[in-house]
């Protein structure tokens, strides 16, 4: 187990370094940050001096080395645009993204699993067909379209929910939360649905097919033969056994939810990290972009690491088979 963990950690470090290098190379092509900083009639000399000042004239390996060294010391530099340390800005935005991702995941699980169970048990009912059609929409419509649609219906036409922003927030330590105010909760609903819809669909379909599979197995037949109630059979035996792959998928999708939040955050002007990233791309704010990509890579690595460990812990067969294939 320890050897396994150490090997994973070394792999993780390698992944981080690769992401850092890739993002760094990419940023050579995002454009000129200088033009976004200076005024339109700044002189040529002024522009050249600023380039020098920001270290943009150094050879690329030197810039990369400096970047990695500073990143290891948690120093990501200063945003060209906001003129504040990147780490401060990211920490300011991080709670918003995490709360949104958490709410979206909760929505996906709370709706997805029951829908999956229902459609698995009542395969031919009218309601099942409805559920499946809805989940088809969730898969096929792009996120931004769903967001705009929800805004149009619930904000513009009905006027029930706000169309943008995070509502009132309360500060607990450094964590700015929107979960404790009425307007904050209201503002969370539409973005969470938009972000979670795809995952919900995924979970519904996964649970459904797993249920269909499990319900055909012998131990379910025996359970029925023993005269157990439907309830006990479906939830006590069948559902429990479908959950192993579902938990794995959910774990892996948490990373995806945070990364996909970029689009949802843009549509709803949700003040999270994704929105910050999009804006930084437009203004070629390199320090913010690189820190964001590193952070996301870091989260993926951590989540994958935990899932790997959980996998081994949950499923005894993997342990017995020794170090089987990873993902």
């Amino acid at each position: 187990m320890l050897a396994f963990a150490i090997r994973r950690l070394i792999e993780a470090a390698f992944v981080m370094l690769t992401v850092a290098l890739l993002s760094f190379v990419l940023f050579r092509f995002v454009g000129d940050p200088i033009n976004q900083i200076v005024s339109q009639d700044a002189s040529l000399e002024e522009r050249i001096r600023l380039r020098e000042d920001l270290g943009l004239n150094d050879p690329i390996p030197v810039q990369f080395g400096r970047f990695v060294w500073k990143a290891m010391n948690l120093d990501f530099g200063v945003s060209y645009q906001v003129k504040q340390p990147v780490i401060t800005i990211l920490m300011d935005r991080f709670p918003a993204t995490l709360e949104l991702a958490f709410a979206a995941a909760l929505f996906a699980i709370a709706i997805g699993i029951p829908m999956g169970v229902y459609t698995g048990i009542h395969r031919h009912s009218m309601l099942s067909k409805w559920f499946l059609s809805i989940s088809l929409i969730g898969i096929s419509l792009p996120t931004f379209l769903i967001g705009i649609l929800l805004i149009y219906v619930f904000a513009v036409k009905l006027g029930w929910l706000p169309s943008y922003g995070r509502g009132e927030t309360v500060k607990i330590g450094f964590w700015k939360t929107g979960l404790l105010t009425w307007s904050g909760l209201k503002a969370l609903i539409l973005p969470a649905i938009t972000l979670g819809l795809f995952q919900m669909t995924l979970i519904t379909r996964l649970v459904r097919s797993e249920m269909l599979e499990v319900l055909r197995t012998d131990y379910i037949k025996f359970a029925r033969a023993r005269g157990l109630s439907n309830r006990a059979v479906y939830f006590g035996h069948a559902l429990k056994n479908t959950l192993v792959p579902v938990v794995t998928i959910i774990g892996l999708q948490v990373g995806a939810i945070i990364a996909f939040a970029i689009i949802t955050e843009t549509v709803f002007q949700w003040p999270g990290m994704g929105l910050l990233f999009i804006k930084s791309v437009q203004t070629a704010d390199i320090p913010v972009m690189s820190a964001y990509l590193l952070l996301v890579a870091f989260m993926f690595v951590v989540i994958n690491f935990i899932v790997d460990l959980l996998y081994v812990a949950i499923d005894p067969r993997i342990r017995l088979a020794g170090s089987g294939a990873g993902h």
């Binding site: 092509f29 995002v30 454009g31 000129d32 940050p33 200088i34 033009n35 976004q36 900083i37 200076v38 005024s39 339109q40 009639d41 700044a42 002189s43 040529l44 002024e46 522009r47 600023l50 000042d53 920001l54 120093d75 530099g77 200063v78 060209y80 645009q81 906001v82 003129k83 504040q84 340390p85 800005i89 300011d92 931004f144 967001g147 705009i148 805004i151 149009y152 904000a155 513009v156 006027g159 706000p162 169309s163 943008y164 922003g165 995070r166 843009t266 549509v267 709803f268 002007q269 003040p271 929105l275 910050l276 999009i278 804006k279 791309v281 437009q282 203004t283 070629a284």
Partner: protein
């Protein structure tokens, strides 16, 4: 249980009572409000926002006329000596008394290393304090438009800046970072209550403001809404009182609504095309060994092949004013005398044939796609129109950060045919002649924004004279002459002035200034 209910009712009543009294104006813009130090970013929007909080020696009224601000009056004692008399009894938000020392301090700060506002005053200008409320500005040479941009040169409180360490404009370096970049202290009609860059900024009415209050607001909340669709939805759902800008394709939708309306007006920015008449061999073209754009006939053929009315009606949906000059008629009225070369494909074909390009040529066109209203769509239209004179355009539309990098001086003007927009910061033609149509070298020394590098000695000589001429009639005559040269020689191809478009709730009245600053100290909300 009962007491719990009573509490809810009581607090609901309390909320209702305060909201009935306080008038809150909410507005949203597509971009962020970042650092609040107004010397770090010379950008209309940021300076506009800060214009509600801080003030310059001069101000501009609803029609952009220069009016007194922190200076009560000024006079030109001799052509190189201006005397400004400062307003007495003005206090900063922090309680500091406003005096001549603050102006001297702000001048130094405006010239500090990382300031982006250095062009607000000539480098050789000196300031002399006569007494606590009188300052003389001494110039190296006469300058009739010295104070033209002083409405956005906001005055800092020396005391405050020294206390918080804000004596220099914010640099991009970590070592000199200070939290005051997110704070502000001015003399203006509003104070800043809180500021979260990219999220929300809250303003409060300054009860001690020196001027005559023309608004009825207590609080103002600014938010960024980046996504077009969401921004358009906000005034329709009544969550926001004003949005800027309204995408042209959504104007009708807001116009149809009974809660909101679209305010439009001509903007000061002029959109034009640059053609490379600088290089000896045209880049990114099928013509080798020479540059067809050195021939005025080819330049004129391009001009006449563009159907500007079609661009106006189809691409801009009517929200543009075709222009024959590189400046808005609002800023230079005598320019109306110059009329656009007529749209005439036959004439254009003939010009191409005369120049020896009857068969046309291939050429790459570079455009930004997120900078101006429908920028990439305009370029597409132009490309289609030029096909009629056998010029085959490959369109290269890029985000602004990329576009300006290669097409501008940093990329050594790596373009043969490009789109650009320009608003003269001083609202004066000299700024255009100096930056956009003057001569430059291959590195950009000279007119840095003349992407095409067109150069005319007579034009530059006129520009030099215009800078020092203080007689308005003579000056205007020379400006007109310079514009005529650009027009006759087709140095650049002007297209239009795009329109401003604000989506405004019907319960709000607010003047829309042509420079697109949102000044809510003139807003009334029902």
């Amino acid at each position: 249980m009962r007491s719990w209910k009573a509490l809810v009712v009581a607090s609901a009543l309390a909320v209702a009572a305060t909201s009935a009294e306080a008038v809150t104006f909410k507005y949203a813009f597509q971009g962020d409000l970042n650092a609040l130090d107004p010397y770090t970013l010379n950008e209309t929007f940021t300076l506009g926002v800060m214009g509600n909080v801080m003030e310059g020696l001069t101000k501009r009224d609803k029609d952009l006329k220069i009016i007194p601000g922190l200076a009560e009056k000024w006079e030109i004692l001799e052509p190189t000596r201006w005397r400004f008399t400062l307003r007495k009894g003005v206090k900063f938000h922090g309680g500091e008394e406003f005096s001549a020392d603050d102006v001297l301090f702000s001048l130094d700060r405006m010239r500090s290393e990382f300031s982006q506002l250095k062009s607000r005053a000539p480098a050789d200008m000196k300031a002399v304090k006569v007494d606590d409320h009188t300052i003389d500005f001494i110039l190296g040479q006469p300058n009739p438009i010295l104070h033209a941009e002083w409405d956005t040169w906001y005055i800092f409180s020396k005391k405050w800046a020294e206390a918080v360490g804000a004596t220099q404009a914010q640099s991009g370096k970590a070592t000199s970072l200070n939290p005051w970049a997110l704070k502000a202290n001015g003399t203006g009609p509003f104070t800043i209550e809180s500021h979260e860059p990219g999220v929300k900024t809250v303003f409060k009415k300054n009860p001690n403001w020196w001027g005559k209050v023309e608004h009825n607001l207590d609080d103002v909340i600014f938010t960024t809404i980046k996504s077009d669709a969401t921004r358009v939805a906000a005034p329709l759902s009544g969550e926001v009182d004003l949005i800027e800008p309204v995408p042209v394709q959504d104007m009708e939708r807001i116009g149809r609504d009974d809660k909101a309306q679209v305010l439009t007006g001509p903007e000061l920015r002029t959109i034009f095309l640059n053609i490379d008449s600088f290089r000896d061999e045209l880049k990114y073209a099928s013509v080798k060994g020479k540059n067809p754009f050195k021939d005025v006939r080819v330049r004129k053929a391009f001009y006449q092949a563009i159907d500007i009315e079609a661009i106006k009606s189809k691409v801009m949906r009517g929200q543009a004013v075709p222009s024959s000059l590189l400046i808005s008629p609002l800023l230079f009225a005598p320019g109306a005398e110059i009329k656009r070369h007529p749209y005439d494909v036959e004439a254009a074909r003939k010009l191409m044939a005369d120049a020896g390009y009857a068969e046309g040529f291939e050429l790459r066109m570079d455009c930004p796609n997120d900078r101006y209203v429908n920028d990439a769509a305009i370029c597409q239209a132009v490309a289609a129109m030029l096909a009629r004179i056998n010029v085959k355009i490959t369109l290269n539309a890029q985000p602004k950060a990329k576009f300006f990098e290669f097409a501008g001086s940093t990329g050594k003007f790596d373009t043969s045919f490009a789109m650009l927009g320009w608003t003269p910061g001083s609202f004066d033609s000299h700024n255009v002649l100096q930056n956009v149509s003057g001569c430059r070298d291959a590195d950009g020394k000279g007119a840095q924004f003349n992407y095409g590098g067109w150069c005319n000695a007579k034009h530059d000589e006129l520009a030099k004279k215009i800078a020092a001429e203080s007689d308005t009639t003579k000056r205007n005559a020379m400006i007109l002459e310079a514009y005529k040269i650009i027009h006759d020689e087709v140095g650049l191809l002007p297209l239009h002035q795009q329109a401003l478009a604000w989506g405004v709730s019907k319960s709000v009245t607010i003047p829309q200034r042509a420079d697109n600053q949102i000044l809510f100290y003139w807003a009334q909300k029902k």
